[in-house]
């Protein structure tokens, strides 16, 4: 029980920090893939009086001519008295963007396109695009806020743990110092606790993460979003391991160094 009491604070703090980091990374990845999906499906349509080869705009990924033969045929069948082949029809193009623009940037792009003399009309579907953009931004802000809040809570728990450690280890460290103990020996007990707690925190976090990311609900959401999410568990494990060890070892070093 005593063992649990003396370890639970650091383990809890580490788990909350590691989870927040992992979830932040996963959310960001999901948002990135989802945004990419939206960008791939989103395009601006422009109607031009002349052929366009290249627009040389940094935000434009590619420009593709829209084939309107089918539409013309349909129109021709409907309005037989008009000969569409004799009409000088404009050119239609689909502009694919590199990333999802903000409503402001979209408006600017529209203005720049309008300034081109050959551009007759621009269709941006800005209303639905703005909604999606705002939703994505909201999600990004929420994930950042989530990470900051959990991170701060974890940090506060660690600060509390530092105080507890200072109280419970200071006497032993002082006595050892009086007999000329080197730094590593003075802090040996703390370093052992730090390493052990880090390992426990890592096992708990990775188990939780594995359970969540393989749960039915999570996989269904990912599939519904129409994205392929690949998690490199070994890479994530190593990253969390480094973070966990760094936090706990730095905390224990602070206690050994700050001992008066």
């Amino acid at each position: 029980m005593n063992y649990l009491k003396s370890h639970i604070t650091l383990i809890l703090a580490l788990v909350s920090i590691l989870l927040s980091i992992f979830l932040f990374r996963i959310f960001n990845k999901i948002l990135f893939l989802y945004e990419k999906n939206i960008v791939n499906n989103y395009s601006i349509v422009i109607v031009s009086t002349s052929k366009i080869e290249n627009l040389n705009y940094p935000e434009i990924e590619k420009i593709t001519p829209i084939d309107i033969k089918d539409q013309i045929q349909r129109l021709q069948q409907k309005y037989k008295n008009i000969d569409f082949s004799k009409i000088d029809l404009p050119y239609f193009y689909k502009l694919t963007l590199k990333k999802l623009p903000s409503p402001k940037k979209l408006e600017k792009l529209k203005e720049r396109l309008k300034q081109k003399a050959f551009v007759k009309r621009i269709l941006t579907h800005s209303s639905s695009q703005t909604k999606i953009y705002n939703l994505l931004m909201l999600l990004k802000i929420l994930t950042k806020m989530f990470m900051v809040i959990v991170g701060v809570l974890g940090f506060l728990l660690i600060v509390k743990q530092l105080e507890v450690w200072k109280l419970s280890h200071s006497e032993r460290m002082y006595i050892m110092e009086l007999f000329g103990a080197p730094f590593w020996l003075k802090g040996a007990a703390l370093f052992k606790i730090a390493i052990l707690d880090s390992l426990i925190a890592i096992i708990l976090t990775v188990s939780f993460v594995y359970f969540i990311t393989n749960s039915f609900l999570f996989t269904k959401i990912i599939s519904d979003l129409n994205i392929i999410l690949q998690i490199d568990y070994i890479k994530e494990f190593l990253l969390l391991l480094v973070i966990s060890f760094s936090i706990s070892l730095i905390s224990s070093i602070i206690v050994v160094v700050s001992k008066k």
Partner: protein
């Protein structure tokens, strides 16, 4: 040869000067009694000798000037000292055997050799039967003997003992003094801070006395 050399030594806290402009020496192998009334500065002098307080003037321990000694050199110097405190300062969460082994851990001894040596020393201080006990489970006299065992196990150059027998019963006090004599016979310089000199003491010793902030060497 001088092991401790003090010249115009002044020791002070923020609250005031405790020892002023005192001069004395302690030679290698000396047995020294440092006497003085309560609050005269005995503990302050011992603290200065193990580097807890920075002195003004000269206080030299071996090759080190305690006024200018660096932290790393102080750490090294302390490995050649054995300190005995009035309140024992045993590590409460360690058993007696481990407490006694501490200086050897610090010196990097192998655990088995350290344990062997600790058992030998604990036999000398008559605590062989208490090696698994924790400090709180021992009497004051037993804790002080364990503290002395810890102070002598690594054959230090000097033992600094701050009122080691105050509060001990007659049997424990006599046993503790015998241990210091034994350490001194092994060639260790011993400095004992005490209110007064012991009644019957049959080896030669040096007497330092503190009065009104001054340290006097008495014959």
């Amino acid at each position: 040869m001088n092991l401790v050399k003090a010249n115009n030594l002044t020791l002070a806290y923020n609250s005031g000067v405790i020892i002023k402009e005192s001069t004395f020496t302690i030679n290698e192998g000396d047995f020294v009694f440092l006497t003085g009334v309560s609050g005269s500065g005995k503990t302050t002098l011992i603290k200065a000798m193990y580097g807890e307080i920075k002195p003004k003037g000269l206080l030299q321990i071996g090759p080190y000037n305690m006024g200018t000694i660096s932290k790393s050199k102080l750490t090294k110097l302390r490995r050649h000292m054995g300190i005995v405190f009035q309140d024992y300062k045993l590590i409460p969460e360690w058993n007696i055997l481990r407490n006694v082994m501490l200086p050897l851990f610090i010196k990097g001894y192998d655990k088995k050799i350290a344990e062997q040596k600790a058992l030998e020393v604990l036999k000398k201080v008559k605590l062989s039967h208490k090696i698994d006990k924790f400090p709180a489970e021992l009497s004051g006299g037993e804790q002080q003997r364990a503290a002395i065992a810890r102070a002598i196990i690594h054959s230090p150059a000097i033992i600094l003992a701050d009122e080691p027998i105050s509060g001990l019963d007659e049997y424990s006090a006599s046993l503790v003094m015998d241990l210091f004599i034994m350490a001194n016979k092994m060639g260790i310089t011993v400095l004992i801070a005490s209110h007064s000199l012991p009644g019957d003491f049959n080896i030669s010793y040096k007497h330092l006395h503190i009065e009104k902030g001054k340290i006097y060497e008495l014959s």
